[in-house]
Symmetry: C2
Subunit: 326 residues, 2 copies
């Protein structure tokens, strides 16, 4: 069976780390058909559109997508692309690696971020010269779907609980609904839940990240708290992510376009390659996914390393070292 993969490198270092991830996938004995499409600042400058319709359509019809990064237009690109794969959950592992300088080297978390609603549903209104509003949306259905995914996710990992982050002491109706729906599904599935207020989570994860494993969050909380965890493990350069939908998924490094180093061939491809490892697991190639992940871990520990990790290796050298270990 051939897997149809859309490849959307985007802008900046997206153009460097996405090919690196592709090289790794091509080194495996798996049938892929890669189709590349454009999105981001560069194509907007050319055509006026950050996300051409054919890119959207390609992503919406492929088995999976490898995305790189987009610049100023990031929100115009990534939010519709998450919709294109009907992604209801953004899976964001945040793990510290041996050999990488981290504020909290014991960090090993996975955020399961609600990926469709909250403040992201985007209904904003300019009511007067003084006043604007945004309608934050929470549904039972989206919260339950996320919780069902979370139950399977912890079960697959041999765990029996997850944390639920919310701010239901203030957002009683909306985050109350989110919390109740998630806890209800977990209860029914025999999974324990640990409730944590969003602000308290921010304190506690700094003080001791080992208190948490899998963390289920509303959309914006997942955005901010996973970036916080990125800070604890030593930067965004290492975090992969998966936007999972019922029939397809989109994989992206959590980092941006890094304009300061773009075009020099020195970007760290680790997050993009780890995203490719998540793609492999998603497509049922668990062994290959695990092998790629281990290869990246070995390279992070032993080098070669890119500049962000204190080394002076190029993207190509790191990529070659990963492939070497497969």
């Amino acid at each position: 069976m051939t897997h149809d993969i859309a490849v959307v490198p985007g802008d900046g270092i997206g153009q460097e780390v996405t090919p690196a991830a592709l090289e790794v996938l091509e080194a495996l004995d798996i049938d892929f058909l890669f189709r590349e499409a454009a999105a981001g600042d560069a194509v907007k400058a050319e055509t006026g559109e950050a996300l051409p319709q054919e890119t959207y359509d390609l992503v919406a019809s492929s088995d999976a997508t490898l995305f790189g990064a987009a610049g100023e237009t990031a929100a115009d690109v990534i939010l519709p692309l998450r919709e294109a794969v009907d992604s209801f959950v953004n899976v964001r592992p945040a793990r510290a690696y041996p050999g990488v300088d981290a504020v909290r080297p014991e960090t090993d978390l996975v955020f399961l971020r609600e990926n469709t609603e909250g403040v992201y549903s985007g209904h904003e209104t300019r009511l007067s010269d003084d006043l604007s509003t945004l309608t934050r949306v929470v549904t039972d259905s989206a919260s339950r779907r996320l919780a069902e995914f979370a139950c399977e996710f912890v079960d697959d990992r041999g765990l029996d609980e997850f944390a639920v982050v919310h701010k239901a002491n203030v957002m009683r109706e909306t985050d109350g609904r989110f919390r109740d729906a998630v806890v209800d599904v977990a209860d029914a599935g025999g999974v324990e839940t640990q409730e944590v207020l969003m602000d308290a989570f921010a304190t506690h994860v700094c003080l001791d990240p080992t208190q948490f494993d899998v963390v289920v969050c509303p959309n914006l909380a997942g955005d901010v708290l996973s970036d916080l965890a990125a800070g604890l493990v030593g930067g965004l350069g290492l975090l992969p992510s998966a936007n999972v939908g019922p029939d397809r998924a989109l994989f992206e490094p959590v980092h941006g376009t890094a304009p300061d180093i773009a075009g020099q061939g020195v970007a760290n491809p680790a997050a993009a390659i780890l995203s490719a490892a998540m793609l492999l697991e998603y497509l049922g190639h668990e062994d290959e996914g695990a092998a790629v992940q281990e290869a990246v871990e070995d390279v992070l520990e032993e080098g070669p390393r890119t500049g962000d990790l204190g080394g002076d290796a190029s993207t190509d050298e790191v990529t070659a070292a990963v492939i070497d270990r497969l």
Copy 2:
């Protein structure tokens, strides 16, 4: 001139650290008239109301309030009390102290948190069995008032810039309005602004907190990011805060009721005493405020220390040590 001070110890360790802060104020040569009032879980259990009207009225008519902590009813108590002093800004310094184990010992930040709107304005609706919404509110007037305060605040400290946190790439209309209003006021006042996305701030403050000094935030962002900074400096036990309004203000430690240690006389009074120092500064007693703050810093460095900081001193011993140094 006598200062009328409302004292609302609340629940749990609020009942221990608030008297400690009072003792310190009483040790100074300043005329205070303290009036105590009840709020929180205990008074709710007794009377059915977490915030009795006479407490609200006392706070709304005093020059300043010292608040302790409230338990389950925290939101029912503190949100109306912030309104009682018409507080438009929550000032939250987060500083690491010599002698206190911190993930990031170089942290020295002050958050200026918008204190009236955002998701806290509280318009929530249950639209159907599946769907709830919350109306997030942002006004130019509140954003500009915060920014004017921020300009004076940095100016008083001999600084010429502040950071503005927002998520205007997603909340374009509401956080766009917030950002534009804040930047506009700063520009007019000759103050530089550094724009930082809320998620990026969470990463960057972990990687290097010295990048930031004064951080101006929407309400929820200020809530979460100041708690994150609390994690970086070693816990909530050290963070004071001031809810400032045009004519009065309310001072509170950022920590909660700590039910695990409440009633044992071992709570760390540092955050409450530092909040009293902010009250002194607010009332124009800058020298005394600075003296109290230095005394707390000395005690944090040299001991005695409470259990949260690895010591075994009581609340009373720490308080006595602070007073000793005045």
